[in-house]
């Protein structure tokens, strides 16, 4: 069970992060330490900044903010908030990255930030090519 109150905050364009959470919950059960502030098209930059700031001020320093797109408003806002609060911000949210973070919080109650980042970075692969290459090595 979780020992700390570490939280994962997702910032995504249009709120696709919560769909990802539904998928993760098929594997892990409830992950109610994950929250999302969707970037809706109608939000202004100051509005969104304020929403994220207010939420982040209530987060513990060992929490993590995951954003979808570098160069997008989600990451720009998170960079400012992370710089102010000391909460880490990773961009490039994907399923293996969130899965790793959720497993760690469920099992250890704390995040291994390097492992979460590595899970995200290592997630992309040309699958058929990789399988063929493995088969060729065996042959």
């Amino acid at each position: 069970m979780s020992e700390s109150n570490a939280e994962i905050l997702l910032l995504t364009h249009g709120g696709w992060g919560m769909s990802l959470v539904k998928g993760i919950e098929m594997l892990l059960g409830k992950v109610d330490f994950v929250h999302e502030i969707p970037l809706e098209p109608s939000y202004t930059l100051p509005e969104y900044m304020q929403m994220v700031k207010e939420h982040a001020e209530a987060m513990t320093p060992d929490s993590l903010i995951l954003t979808d797109l570098i160069g997008g408003t989600t990451s720009n806002v998170a960079a400012v908030v992370g710089n102010q609060t000391g909460i880490k911000v990773f961009c490039g949210l994907n399923a293996p990255m969130l899965l790793e973070a959720c497993v760690e919080l469920q099992n250890d109650g704390a995040l291994d930030f390097d492992a979460v980042l590595a899970a995200g970075q290592g997630a992309c692969m040309d699958v058929v090519a990789a399988v063929r290459s493995t088969m060729a090595q065996k042959a």
């Binding site: 109608s42 939000y43 202004t44 160069g71 997008g72 990451s75 720009n76 960079a79 400012v80």
Partner: protein, 163 residues
């Protein structure tokens, strides 16, 4: 001498739509942001520099510096996407000599005294007046968020605002 390939008014400045769509669409290789606030905020400025794609340079200038740089040599060299946070900044630099001939309004955020005119673009009375004044001086103003949307001309938008 630089060449301005797009002048865009967008309160979010550099963000997803600009980076993924417009930079490629207009083949820009330099983004010039005009914002007194941003030019004096080293951290925020660094965020924009960090997130620029390879081959794209980003400059943040105060309105005064932007006017000077435009008059010197149109922001140096390259194909320039001139990015402005508001119609007020557009009016300021236009009146000070940055005579752009066409402007795209791509995003202007909400607020209590503002009215939605197209998708997520809102105007207030001051904005509408800037559109009118600049149009009267021959500037072509269109409203368009992404290239896939048909650009809306200023007359249609102002009619909607007053309707």
């Amino acid at each position: 001498m630089g060449k301005i390939v797009l002048t865009r008014v967008d309160s979010r400045l550099i963000h997803g739509q600009v980076m993924t769509k417009w930079v490629n669409q207009v083949q820009a290789n330099k983004i010039v942001i005009v914002s007194d606030e941003l030019a004096n905020d080293e951290f925020m400025k660094s965020i924009y520099l960090l997130s620029a794609p390879a081959g794209i340079t980003v400059d943040c200038l105060t309105a005064a510096d932007a006017v000077k740089s435009y008059k010197d040599d149109v922001f140096g060299e390259g194909r320039i996407l001139l990015l402005l946070p508001s119609l007020q900044v557009l009016e300021t630099i236009f009146n000070a000599g940055v005579k752009v001939d066409s402007v795209q309004v791509g995003g202007l955020g909400g607020g209590p005294s503002r009215k939605v005119v197209f998708q997520n673009i809102t105007l207030d009375d001051a904005d509408a007046k800037v559109c009118e004044d600049l149009s009267a001086q021959g500037v072509s103003i269109v409203f368009q968020t992404i290239p896939e949307d048909a650009p809306q001309d200023v007359a249609t938008i102002l009619k909607k605002y007053r309707g």
